[in-house]
């Protein structure tokens, strides 16, 4: 089994790289879309709403197929890796947007006013006062989204990316060591996701209900 390891490790880094870039992108998209929806920006709000519904209600596999096979035909050249990152970012963005939006709604409007009264501009108060609180208030669904997105990386092999799933299937096809190859696959996914899960639980416990600092007065 040891001889398979380098292949798995290589695939692990590829999967992780696409996963991290995709998640980073999803956070960015999510923040922007959440603000557009929350502040009811005309026109953009409708587009954002349509985007969220489209990506939340179709499977990632189909989204990836569309980007990988249809986009080049429409004159947009895209590599498989970029496709994976973009697909994950767009899917995740829709989920992150919903989670940030609920966080934004939970920040009381008088917090806006208290920041305005200190002379902050809208941009300054969003960055320093409102968004940090909104993200904290939505931490539970935020962590759940990250774990969900890392799991979704397992469909990348469908667009011929040599990710963990691809390597496992490939080796099974070559050597018929089905059990061993699948056990390794599970182990590598655990290595990737378990730390996120543990860290997430820890952060959630510290920030429960949007309260900050250690417990007790």
């Amino acid at each position: 089994m040891a001889e398979y390891l380098p292949l798995y490790v290589q695939a692990f880094w590829l999967t992780l790289r696409i996963g991290l870039v995709g998640i980073f992108g999803s956070i960015l998209i999510g923040l922007i879309v959440a603000m557009v929806v929350h502040f009811k920006v005309p026109v953009l709000k409708q587009i954002a709403g349509a985007y969220v519904e489209l990506f939340r209600n179709t499977p990632l596999l189909i989204q990836l197929f569309f980007m990988y096979f249809a986009l080049p035909r429409m004159g947009v050249p895209i590599t498989a890796e970029a496709c994976g990152m973009l697909g994950l970012a767009l899917l995740g963005g829709a989920y992150m947007a919903e989670s940030f939006r609920s966080g934004l709604e939970a920040v009381e409007s008088i917090q806006f006013e208290s920041a305005l009264a200190l002379g902050m501009t809208r941009a300054q108060l969003m960055r320093h006062v409102v968004l940090p609180q909104a993200v904290t208030l939505s931490i539970q669904s935020f962590v759940a989204n990250i774990i969900f997105l890392l799991k979704e990386t397992s469909v990348f092999s469908a667009i011929s990316l040599m990710d963990l799933m691809f390597v496992a299937k490939d080796l099974i096809g070559l050597y018929y060591k089905t059990t061993e190859c699948l056990v390794l696959l599970v182990i590598f996914y655990l290595i990737m996701i378990l730390p996120v899960s543990i860290l997430g639980t820890y952060v959630e416990r510290r920030l429960r209900h949007g309260s900050f600092g250690p417990a007790g007065a």
């Binding site: 006013e113 200190l118 002379g119 300054q124 609180q133 900050f212 007065a217």
Partner: protein, 247 residues
């Protein structure tokens, strides 16, 4: 016009058909402490919110140092930075420590160097008796302590005028004093303040001038001793009687 001079001319504020403030005229001189009192819902808190542009006004104008305060204008942030506001419900930033609450606006809005701002913030926290809580988060503090931090946060911007909106109304009685003592100290130093309060004893002690508002209009305006001992209007007399008890 001198720094920290506030002119309110024919201010009219309404929500739809409901008139909240009608033809308010008020001049606050630098160094003056004006206390606004009146029954609940008379519009006194709204007046403070209009002064720093948190509420749009429907008529008249408000001038700070000769500049028009307009909540919809692009320059409103710069004007608000000259007006410190303390809210009834403190509104500290829960995700920031006590010290960060005080330093945030000076570093972000005024873009002053962090070390300088922190040193000043510590001096302010010392003055409100909370230097030892600088590293704590707001939720670890009592209401009175939170409100003192909120005062330090407002002072850190070196505002020309401090607006205090019922800052003790949410506090337990034993905490009211620690907060009002800080304000009395500021008054002695000549800080310009507009104070909305229901604490009549405090109003009398701190004010240079009392403004009595009822149903959205200034009904009476007088020095504290005159107002509390010889209220001229029937409405003020009636209002002051609500603070008396007979067995």
């Amino acid at each position: 016009m001198a720094e920290g001079e506030l002119h309110i001319e024919h201010l009219h504020k309404a929500y739809g058909d409901h008139v909240v403030l009608d033809d308010i005229n008020l001049v606050v001189e630098p160094g003056e402490v004006v206390v606004v009192i009146g029954p609940s819902g008379c519009g006194k808190s709204t007046l403070l919110r209009c002064i720093n542009g948190l509420e749009q006004i429907q008529g008249g104008r408000i001038l700070l140092d000769g500049e028009v305060v307009d909540g919809a204008s692009k320059d409103i942030a710069a004007l608000r930075a000259k007006l410190g506001m303390v809210f009834q419900s403190y509104e500290l930033f829960p995700h920031k420590t006590v010290l960060e609450n005080v330093t945030l606006a000076p570093t972000v809005v005024q873009k002053r160097p962090k070390e300088e701002v922190e040193a000043e913030a510590m001096t302010l926290l010392e003055r409100v008796g909370l230097a030892d809580r600088a590293k704590d988060f707001p939720r670890q503090l009592s209401g009175g302590q939170k409100q003192r931090v909120a005062i330090a946060r407002a002072l850190a911007m070196k505002p020309e005028i401090l607006l205090l909106d019922e800052i003790t109304a949410a506090l337990d009685p034993e905490m009211v004093h620690e907060v009002l003592d800080v304000i009395l100290g500021l008054a002695r130093e000549g800080k310009t303040m507009i104070i909305v309060t229901h604490e009549m004893g405090f109003a009398r002690a701190v004010a240079d001038r009392i403004i009595f508002i009822d149903e959205g209009a200034i009904v009476e305006e007088a020095a504290p001793a005159d107002f509390f001992d010889h209220p001229q209007t029937e409405r003020a007399q009636k209002f002051l009687r609500t603070f008396e008890y007979e067995k």
